[in-house]
Symmetry: C2
Subunit: 334 residues, 2 copies
């Protein structure tokens, strides 16, 4: 497996984005986020999505790379922003920054963002809030990716949802799509033939299956918790679209592609409320309790959300970030 | 099946609670909430839990029936309240009312509540916010009810989570525990031998199973989405406990029983943001899209969260609320 130093990856990404017409601060931000996603083991939204991102930046494809998000409404601790069809990473970073500032002023801050584009890895913005000492909660809607419970036709988004809690030794980061498995993971398992560890959808006969190829054929991936995830996806979609004045999953799908999505960013000024020492004690005690739960498999202790990611990050910073050579060569040639 | 008029149920509950020493406004509130839960088909947190509730009111059992919740901290749109070990229904109603008021002032309002007791049905407080024209989001922690992903030992709560969106024809109400099935439902299926429609946990050999008795034996109910629900339960627990300065699931379990839980109440003034007509259009369009998804079973169209509950409510208001005669006789004799 080829590995590339994190700083090399970041600077190559920056070089390519500058050459693609992005202004310098935008190029640096989008390069850093993609490189950090690969650094943290989220390759699908790091190196592996970078060539496609560059193509969209160069060809347009509905993204206005010069657009700047702007506040269009709201009051007090709740603001409505318009992403102006700009870069998803820039818009999301700006809005979580604003939510963090609102939380300083009001205890809790919420920014609802419309007309934005794919933010890549959802967890990026949770980590941003946690780095600023805030609890971060955010989610995005998507186009239709799953059938709702009771139908075999895709109508609801998988609407990734993030909870991040600041922690000195590494933030707690829950970053989960409402589908049991992502489309990317389903494709990988479908190609390799390796079954999912738990059912990820239905086959064409309507039976639960761990066979990713059968799920791709039936087009019936599963929401987490069946009817529960189905309802949660709808609720997240409506809150993001209503609060931002933006598109719902239904409206995104009507227009084709997946442009102009709606997102919600919430920050809570937890250090001012709980105190640094109070925060630390409560979080460490709960993590300690998880860590002492007898593991099902020897040598695989229960992990808190984000713990495995942090181990991967440390390994990748030390040894270099693993790259799919095909994608890496593409980047070097750009 | 015996049915009892809703008003009869409410007045019987009120009579019993007044005779049990609750002040009049408290008796009326707790009677109404229990009766409405049965009216809406949530019998487990309505009539069926009422005799136990009365016993706790009469015997104390850690609940101070005269306590009044009070604000103890926070600033701006985020407040910290102490439930003073009082009635869970009273504390939760007071805190959602306060979150609704904060949302009027700040766009979004958040009240974190500590030292409170079981709020019965989580959806009650979502409906309260929606009745006030707000989006309501709330959750509670619980004692240890599920093993975290990777262990067979119970360490995490099932931490019911609610999203409610106001709608003239009947609110959207997602009311879900983070376990795939509740303890109550597992007991019912275990007794009747009727299998769950989907796996609800593991058997003692560690295989996924729909057999409720096997799940009770192994003590391994399943969080929704496996590792995802496991992480979500932990995140909800920490946010509620940190923001309120209250107990975590770990701390609740240490003390035994399930007293002094922590809860979070969030309200968003969506009508001021989206407008009544904007809200209506977006919600109806999305519901319409769900309703036109081809159903898997003829005559069972896809429902939005809360839709079946509303049908049940209408039926129960018209025909009377179905009662388990054993519980109803108990109430009449109290």
């Amino acid at each position: 497996m080829q590995r590339v130093p994190f700083e090399t990856m970041k600077s190559e990404f920056t070089r390519v984005l500058l050459a693609s017409g992005l202004a310098e601060d935008r190029a640096r931000l989008c390069a850093r986020v993609h490189a950090e996603n690969s650094r943290d083991g989220v390759y699908s939204h790091g190196l592996n999505s970078f060539p496609g991102f560059v193509a969209r930046v160069r060809e347009g494809g509905g993204i206005d790379i010069h657009a700047t998000p702007r506040k269009v409404g709201g009051f007090g601790a709740l603001e409505q922003w318009d992403g102006e069809s700009g870069l998803g990473i820039l818009n999301a970073t700006t809005c979580m920054e604003r939510a963090v500032a609102l939380a300083r002023e009001h205890g809790i801050g919420c920014v609802a963002l419309r007309n934005t584009n794919h933010w890549m890895r959802a967890g990026t913005y949770g980590l941003q809030a946690a780095d600023a000492g805030r609890i971060g909660i955010c989610w995005t809607n998507t186009t239709r990716l799953m059938p709702p419970h009771g139908s075999a036709e895709r109508r609801i988004g998988n609407n990734p949802l993030v909870f991040a809690i600041p922690r000195e030794g590494g933030h707690i980061l829950l970053d989960m799509a409402i589908s049991q498995f992502s489309g990317g993971k389903t494709l990988i398992h479908s190609r390799s033939g390796q079954p999912f560890p738990v059912p990820g959808g239905y086959d064409s006969q309507g039976n639960l299956t761990c066979d990713a190829a059968a799920i791709r054929q039936s087009n019936r991936p599963l929401p987490i918790g069946y009817w529960k995830g189905s309802g949660l996806a709808m609720a997240l979609d409506l809150v993001a679209a209503l609060a931002s004045g933006g598109r719902t999953t239904y409206q995104i799908a009507l227009e084709g592609g997946e442009r102009g999505v709606s997102q919600t960013f919430i920050a809570i000024d937890i250090i001012r409320i709980a105190g640094e020492e109070g925060l630390r004690q409560v979080v460490e005690e709960t993590i300690g309790d998880l860590h002492t739960a007898p593991p099902l498999r020897e040598g695989e202790p229960v992990a808190y959300p984000g713990e495995r990611m942090l181990q991967r990050r440390r390994e990748n910073l030390e040894k270099g970030v693993p790259v799919d050579s095909e994608f890496w060569e593409q980047v070097l040639a750009l």
